[in-house]
Symmetry: C2
Subunit: 289 residues, 2 copies
């Protein structure tokens, strides 16, 4: 790819990418990967989610959600044609939502998008930016090493019983896929022992830890797997499941043998630190094609 | 049906039913219904599960699990041809399992049955008694009023939003049916918020109560339904889901609007007390065809 330098007319060469940056390490890593690829990067730091200090070396500006119109004006002025939304977004305050004048005209679109589940809202956000002539990319389109590859991510590998558990787990997640709910489960002792819904992955892992401690669930050697995958049809550009260091810590504390994720479809964050922790904890992290 | 009286030869008239009685009120109610139908009832009180004092007015004897052979000898001596297994069985102690001489010959059958999940074991128990020439009945075959009828069981009825939640919930349970796991879920706020697996129905209800208390789940008026159904193919003769007074209490405490069960396929126990409590708590209990 061409470098993000300017030509004689002062017009930036290469791709022009806007990164809508939420909380966590992922937006920073996407910004870094895009820059390394020679793209011209503009970071919209989402107020209350991302820390402006993290983006001091970038062409960046902080925006409240209600400043969408102002952000779009800037995107058009810069002739940006690609946008990535990445990072967690805490529940916005009313203050953050309060629309500026330049944002008011877009409200009808979002009023419709809000009338449905999370899936519906995200589809509405994607279609909104597409309607503005922007190409919406996923974080993995820019930084492919953010997602799990096929095979073992560290030095431990699933046992035979764990492989059976992984197969059961992915079959279960496929069956749950038509429902708008968490896409993680724990399989152990030849059965599904926990399914994630509104409580979230962390609470589900801790529930299983409690069952083990209470003697209600016996884990044989190499048994017990957390499986995680996106729903069928989930838009991975704006809604990709993720595991991180805290996931590995919790899974190890629960006494499970490892984690299996859908390869290419689950964010693994800082892969090197994840592998180091998993190796030290005796856990496998397996990407399943 | 004919009355359970004796003829001139002292031989009992009518059906001859053995009830293998576990813990709880259901075995007593089955014994009472069978007696009212004129059947000749013999109760095998499972040691450590049922209380012999409850069966003082019945032809009854206490058995350990290891005394299966002795029980079968008695069943044959009495020319009993129907058997009902009903009531919860606590995890048996090794002492309870220790086989008497008369039981040893049956062990190979159960050794095979134990090599699999709960479903497999129950199928093994049913096939064992069938192999002994006994007809295995379900509690509802003898006492149909133990199970939920179609429609509202009390005076409250599901709202429109609750009806939608019920439909989603039963669709989910059907999708989960191929997996050997709990068959209950909670649907609220237009989505599945909890799925039961190894933790059991009570813990699942309490989890949702926690989400509501923490403000992570908002329940509108008339919203929030516990759905419960057997798995497709579940043998209702030996493994029927149940709701009871404690279920109603927990569902009410969680702030849910009601309970929906598969009509004819979920035990409701003492229907009158259940209805009284549900009515007083403002909950619906709906049997869905």
């Amino acid at each position: 790819m061409s470098a993000g330098t300017a030509d004689a007319a002062g017009r930036p060469q290469g791709r022009r990418v806007a990164i809508l940056a939420g909380r966590g390490e992922f937006p920073l890593r996407v910004a870094s990967a895009a820059t390394a690829q020679g793209a011209n990067v503009y970071v919209a730091i989402l107020s209350g989610a991302a820390d402006p200090a993290d983006y001091a070396s970038y062409d960046a500006r902080e925006y409240r959600l209600g400043q969408l119109g102002r952000f779009l004006d800037e995107v058009k002025r810069r002739e940006i044609d690609e946008i990535v939304m990445v990072g967690a977004l805490p529940r916005p305050s009313f203050g953050a939502l309060a629309p500026e004048l330049s944002t008011l005209k877009y409200l009808p679109h979002f009023a419709r998008a809000f009338q449905g589940g999370d899936d519906h809202l995200l589809r509405g956000v994607v279609s909104f930016f597409e309607g503005q002539g922007l190409r919406v990319l996923g974080p993995a389109d820019i930084a492919p090493d953010l997602v799990a590859p096929v095979g073992a991510l560290g030095r431990h590998k699933p046992s035979a019983v764990a492989r059976e558990a992984i197969a059961t787990g992915f079959n279960l997640l496929a069956a749950l896929s038509p429902f708008d709910m968490g896409q993680a489960a724990i399989v152990a002792d030849h059965r599904v022992v926990a399914v994630e819904a509104a409580e979230g992955t962390d609470a589900m892992i801790e529930r299983v830890a409690g069952l083990v401690q209470a003697g209600r669930l016996k884990l044989g050697k190499g048994d017990g797997v957390l499986v995680k995958a996106p729903k069928l049809g989930q838009d991975l550009r704006v809604d990709m499941p993720a595991i991180g260091l805290d996931t590995v810590t919790r899974v190890a504390a629960a006494g499970l043998a490892g984690i299996a994720v859908k390869a290419g479809k689950v964010l693994v964050g800082d892969r090197q630190r994840l592998v180091t922790l998993a190796d030290a904890s005796g856990l496998f992290i397996e990407g399943v094609a």
